[in-house]
Subunit: 274 residues, 2 copies
């Protein structure tokens, strides 16, 4: 299949977290069409095994590959750590994860070479951030903390509650005794907690949102492959494996616009045909 | 020729301005080797015609192509505007300019969609920034101001003088009556004037350095092509068409390290053999 400028960007996530990436793509690349799938039914991915997350991710890629896509964003850190490499082998379009863009932005931002990373248990256990940071810049010190309570807060619409402030403060407590100058939000749900996180970390710590950086990196990749949409008014489509009504409610609040949402039925897949 | 991870990054500029890009590449990608050429003898490029700048740029690319390169950065806005497209046609490695990285960072940063651009006369007249910004985001308002006095200040080592403060304030005067929230330093010399520029523009305007953004974008492109250097202690080489002693003095002050510098003799070129 010919890859064309007017084809869409596929974005996948374990649930609603990847909407922070979708929102940034809409903001930074307003001419690009998005086809989003949130696997809300099986969310969260964080506590699952790598094999399971890889299997689920390939099922979503299989579903999305029925549409004409020019690039795919794995907008979930857990799925990026578990499946990015495999997905790249399976489909002939650029595939972006959310880990490397955050890594590059953190390297750009840090002055003391001391970077913190927060994420789900799966992401932190994979050491994907630590490896990616040291792969590019071996002298960087990385301090990783799993915050398994954060994503469920957001997924349940509680990110602006008092409970959220309390949970965030507790989750970030390990950083009280560690001096860092940059903190990577290593989960696409976390930009919705950014205000509480910034309050706890203080002004001197720069907070890196993978969502913002991934959208900018998508722009780079599309431009270098001459695939940026031009003079195009996009039409976005959203799918969820869970309840479309609650997904629509959260999505429209976050994105600030009405969306079309359909339920998707995923199937076990051996090989993706693209 | 096979392109290998251990090959160098070619960086070219009309003079010393591109050293701000070289410095950022060293900081963000400390395992990458750099081969730099500054065409100090024919600097500045800003007031020259597009045809002349294109001819000079191709001569430099011809010179640099005698070394094993895996990517090339045109670290001069004037040369990017005049010759990027032509250089991409001539050599089979990724070629990055300094315009698009700044454009993307500005789109990421702006909240009011009002972006200022300062650059040499050649860059501003080319409208390269305006076109690139509107190509990606048609609703952005762009306010461009040529500051032909800025680069010569830096090229003559006067960027920390009282004269510099005065010249910067005068050059930026047109922005007194224009409300912008983001300013692109559209010339690689300008990061050395960043402090004076920030003072004039005030805290509410985010200053975008193409040098920082270009190095981050180089990281993206190398990684997506599996060309990032790994476990490698690089050796950098610098060439100038002008006086090596004065180049060495400025370069070592800016880069904070001693460098090897040689004089390069450029020749007219019809076609680049790579």
């Amino acid at each position: 299949m010919d890859i064309k400028k007017e084809h869409a960007i596929g974005i996948l996530d374990s649930g609603v977290g990847g909407l922070t990436v979708a929102k940034e793509v809409m903001r930074q690349l307003p001419q690009e069409a998005i086809i989003y799938l949130g696997d809300t039914k099986r969310c969260p991915y964080g506590p699952r095994t790598k094999e399971e997350v890889k299997k689920f991710t390939l099922e979503i890629v299989h579903f999305l590959s029925q549409f004409p896509l020019k690039a795919l964003v794995i907008a979930c850190n857990t799925a990026t750590a578990a499946a990015l490499h495999e997905v790249r082998l399976q489909i002939p379009i650029p595939v972006l994860g959310v880990i490397k863009p955050g890594v590059r932005a953190a390297i750009k931002a840090t002055k003391q070479h001391r970077i913190g990373v927060i994420g789900t248990q799966g992401t932190i256990q994979s050491q994907a951030y630590e490896q990616a940071l040291k792969r590019i810049h071996p002298e960087i010190e990385v301090y990783s903390v799993a915050c398994p309570q954060f994503a469920p807060l957001v997924e349940n619409g509680l990110h602006q509650s008092e409970l959220a402030e309390k949970v965030v403060a507790e989750g970030l407590a390990p950083f009280q005794n560690i001096s860092i100058d940059t903190l990577i939000l290593g989960c696409t749900h976390y930009p919705l907690l950014a205000e509480s996180i910034a309050k706890v970390m203080g002004e001197k710590v720069e907070i890196i949102s993978s969502a913002e950086e991934t959208a900018a990196e998508l722009s780079t990749i599309l431009q270098h492959q001459s695939l940026l949409a031009y003079d195009y008014t996009p039409d976005h489509h959203f799918f969820t494996t869970g309840d479309p009504h609650s997904f629509k409610k959260i999505a429209e609040t976050w994105l600030g616009q009405t969306i079309k949402i359909e339920q998707a039925r995923l199937e076990p897949v051996q090989k993706i045909s693209f």
